[in-house]
Amino acid sequence: MSHLLEVNNLKVSFHTYAGEVQAVRGVTFYVNEGETLAIVGESGCGKTVTSKAIMGLVASPQGEVKKDSEIKFKGINILKYTNKQWQDYRGKDAGMIFQDPMTSLNPTMKIGNQIREGIIKHQKVSKKEAQERTIELLKKVNIPNPIERIQQYPHEFSGGMRQRVMIAIALACNPQLMIADEPTTALDVTIQAQIIKLLKEIQRVNHSAIIMITHDLGVVAGMADRVAVMYAGKIVEEGSAEEIFENPQHPYTYALLNAVPNLELENKAELHVIPGTPPDLVAPPKGCGFASRCEYCMEVCNRYEPQYTQISKSHRTMCWLHDEIAKEVYGFDNVRSVIKK
């Protein structure tokens, strides 16, 4: 089966006064139709930049998508698109839900016009039809009184409502690929649950693919079919949701899983922390990016970059602990059982 979206060796850099920031350093993944891929990682690990590259929103000249990168949408490399082709692609083939519903809507435009914009751009419909479609979309995302609501401005909407409007805009042309960049981070848990339910429902009806970018592992567990864990501009582990949560193979992944407080855990017990901070991507480390924060760091980790090890057909990880020699020396299974405590 060919994939809906294929990203091959994506590299994105930003040129700043401090030097070249290598935000994304060779990322490869794919998304199938009707499937949800979650990209997880800390701020600054390159997850948002990856999604912007897929939407063609990396601002040049500061931002640069490196030459040998490839993003294939239905088999066509979209990085070779002209401006005109990009405009057709955005909104119609791929829609994006941005992180902050408070700042991503135009405060001087009525809600109806903001949604209609995409419909008029991509579909040959009359104004009246576009209006009807807009109302339909607002109904779809569960906004009450859509007929009155389209005449209102963003400041008259609450955070959860605005996020729904954002989703309606992304949905306007039924894109096959939706990118949700931390769609619920700015929202309360109850509203978060509503939005996630809505996204799932839309996915079921439209059979669209979703790339979900988040650092909330709980949200990932509820939404994702597959998970890619990013660290310092690289995917360090990728697998199905079950594989990642039940059988994590990269020290960063289990450190992340352990950092979440468990409701069963005793109060005020020491939480597992990941000491230190992510590396500076102006001068990325020669070896493994996580080496300086890793509890199981070996000498080789600082010198050479690990390669991917295939754990199962869908599960791969990038860590020296999986090397044949390391297994002998270290007893990797023991390491994991220690962590699980």
Partner: protein, 320 residues
Amino acid sequence: MNSREPLVKVEHLKKYFNMRKKGVLKAVDDVSFEIYPGETVGLVGESGCGKTTCGRTILGLYPATEGKIEFQGKDISQLKDKKEIIEFKKNVQMIFQDPYASLNPRMTVGDIIAEGMINHHVPGGNDRIQELLAMVGLNKEYTNRFPHEFSGGQRQRIGIARALAVDPKFIVCDEPISALDVSIQAQVVNLLVRLQEQLGLTYLFIAHDLSMVKHISDHVGVMYMGQLVEFSSSNELYKHPAHFYTKALLSAIPIPDPKLEKTKTVLPLEGEVGSPINCGPGCRFMSRCKYATEQCGIATPELKEIGKGHFVACHVLENA
């Protein structure tokens, strides 16, 4: 509960904001609870429910509209003596939500921490600043640096050092971790717990991340539209939630386990928080509560004890 004297006692606290033509916004409406020394009380609720206003009013940053706040047995609105007021302000400190906005970008870290010490004539000078930095896990040499040179987690540590500088007894932590990444959140929470053990601090911990609140708090209060709907020890609250709103809130916490998360039932909580402007009598949760009866629309439910130290405000539960 406890035989000791509470450090902070909040009684029927009300804080209304006058919105001129629009009416009156009842941000905090009749909230009562106690915080004992060395304990942490967590306040949770959706945005706009009045948790931050409650915290700020307790610190005296807003004058209370009605009700009483006692700190160490003294009503803070009755403090007349200047010395007493200064003493109170030295004893209560705050850690703010946004570490990017709460540090003055034009002051060095040393100046930021020293500001309170100078105002309150706390002795120690430079040595004390370095000691504080070490206490929050930062390098001693950072005193001459500016906030923009630090990451979010480090800035939050600076904010904590600033609060600790004047030897407070009581700290209001207003969503200190919401702006941080998961791994950094754990670092800051561990630091707060450690400092509490070392210095015997008392916290009011305001957050909307329920799992973190459970982790750090001894008691938890759930707020809805300016009112406390449930108050209990944190273990009891998470094991046996009584109020329908608490139950819905808890069921909405995403669990980082795909099998559990995909099969669990989220109690539906339709709609959003209503407007606290000019709200009438009756239970405020009524519009979102499927168990609501006639009585709920008539009178505001009061907090009633249903178990040892477990208080709930709900008519339906009361009659059941």
